[in-house]
């Protein structure tokens, strides 16, 4: 199905996910180049999170094919898929609540590294995400934003080659968001990244190529500047934000 010469990390063909009468993802053909940083925008309920879940096997698509580096992975189990090198930060932080932040991150690092190295990596990631002082705290008792950062550290510690971030900047203040943007840019030097986010200030700092979802289907795919100027996108999604950007 795919041309062996094109280096697509992930490619979906006709990807569709229906829940009863609701079509959350509707015949999406999507491809991400090796090393690319892609932003995924779209109204609430457009199907972005559902799309992520189809990529990671949390949901089995109703129709269509998902390929990872040319290999079809549709219908695979989650753990088999992510072992290929995918890391995901989910929209609602998804953590090992009873465990410490360090232990959370280590469980991820240990997939990739032997014990001593895993320890070092975990500590490094906690520092990088600015939550080193929370290392010993039980994550179930952290504030929402703290949990977001711990989850990010966890995802990074697994050193995935494809990173999926679902609203990473939610609940961050301006300067925290700026730091996160720098982190994502740095990350994209070594990995392919897809970011879903509604915070346009954040998006503007990192975005190059942008895909806009609407009603489960791809609505536009263009560089960020074009998207910001797009009347239709402004209509369905950006509202007055577009004026601010302009």
């Amino acid at each position: 199905m795919s041309d062996p010469d094109d280096h697509k990390v992930i490619r979906t063909t006709g990807l569709t996910m229906r829940f009863g009468g609701v079509t959350a993802v509707d015949h999406v053909d999507f491809a991400l180049n090796e090393g690319e940083l892609r932003c995924l925008l779209g109204p609430n309920g457009a199907g972005k999170s559902t799309f992520f879940k189809c990529l990671t096997g949390q949901l089995t698509p109703t129709e269509g094919v998902v390929e990872f580096r040319g290999q079809p992975i549709t219908g695979w189990l989650t753990h088999d898929i992510v072992k290929l090198g995918i890391g995901i930060k989910t929209q609602v932080p998804n953590l090992f609540n009873g465990l410490s932040a360090y232990e959370n991150v280590r469980l991820s690092a240990r997939r990739k590294h032997l014990a001593p190295m895993a320890r070092q990596k975990s500590e490094e990631m906690l520092v990088k995400c600015g939550v080193a002082d929370l290392a010993k705290r039980e994550v179930g008792l952290l504030s929402h934003g703290q949990r977001q950062l711990v989850e990010l550290a966890m995802v990074l510690a697994g050193e995935p080659s494809l990173v999926l971030l679902d609203e990473p900047a939610a609940g961050m203040t301006g300067d925290e968001r700026d730091r996160l943007a720098r982190l994502v840019l740095e990350l994209s030097r070594n990995a392919s990244v897809i970011v879903v986010e509604h915070d346009m200030a954040f998006i503007r700092q990192i975005a190059k190529q942008v895909t806009v979802f609407n009603r489960g289907a791809i609505f536009r795919e263009a560089p960020i500047d074009e998207i910001m100027r797009d009347r239709a996108v402004q209509e369905i999604y950006l509202g007055k934000q577009a004026d601010v950007a302009a």
Binding site: N44, G45, S143, A170, G171, G239, K240
Partner: protein, 236 residues
């Protein structure tokens, strides 16, 4: 007298203190914004006002009465409403039933309320039959707001209401809240990270850092992110 007055409030989780000193007030019809970094105690403050977190010192008076001894549901019936962080939708109830819960505990004719609310949140109209747990993140946030408004609270505590909401709807929410407060129906305490949103809406903005809230950020400084950061405790 202020609708809500918080003085010298202290609160803790078990033996672990989370709020050291909180002083602020909200006049009827006002929107009071609270800014602060992650983990500084914003959520804790709202939960303490609502009655979830044990208050270990200080005073909270609402509508002229000391509410420290009241249970959460009594505070709700006294006119407090909370839109919590994390939305807390009833996952196995339909959207309509989620809205109905807020109404079901009230007496009197409640028929038109839902229709009114749906006018404020038209996006929920086509989702009425869907299970709360099946909504997208942003849809859930809208539902949480709508559900709180169904009770027509006097004071609404909003914990990061724009989180996960698409830009155009943030504007809509902002407009909606402005309409409501303009009618003097409602007073809002707003915890928010979105600087534009909070400045656009708030009459006054406070900063909280490490469980201490005492300083109001002057309006003219709010447009300067650098200054705001300084108020919040540490520079970027």
């Amino acid at each position: 007298m202020s609708l809500l007055e918080v003085r010298g409030l202290k609160a803790s989780y078990g033996v672990v203190p989370a709020l050291h000193r909180v002083d602020f007030r909200a006049e009827a019809g006002e929107v009071v914004g609270i800014l602060g970094h992650n983990g500084m105690g914003k959520t804790t403050l709202l939960r303490a006002i609502m009655g979830y977190v044990k208050v270990t010192g200080g005073e909270i008076s609402f509508d002229g009465a000391d509410i420290r001894g009241l249970s959460v549901n009594a505070r709700a019936r006294a006119g407090l409403g909370l839109v919590p962080q994390g939305r807390e939708i009833f996952p196995n109830l339909s959207v309509e039933d989620n809205l109905m819960v807020g109404i079901a505990t009230q007496k009197g004719d409640t028929g038109p309320i839902i229709a009114e609310i749906l006018e404020l949140f038209p996006r929920l109209k086509r989702l009425l039959d869907r299970r709360g747990g099946a909504l997208s993140g942003g849809e859930q946030q809208l539902l949480a707001l709508a559900r709180c408004l169904c009770r027509r609270p006097k004071l609404m505590l909003l914990d990061e209401p724009t989180e996960g909401i698409q830009p155009s709807i943030i504007d809509e929410i902002s407009d909606t809240l402005k309409v409501l407060t303009a009618r003097q129906d409602i007073t809002i305490v707003l915890v928010e990270q979105n600087l534009d949103f909070i400045t656009g809406l708030s009459d006054r903005v406070y900063a909280i850092a490490n469980g201490v809230l005492d300083s109001e950020i002057p309006r003219d400084r709010l447009t300067d992110p650098q200054a705001v950061s300084e108020f919040m405790g540490f520079a970027a």
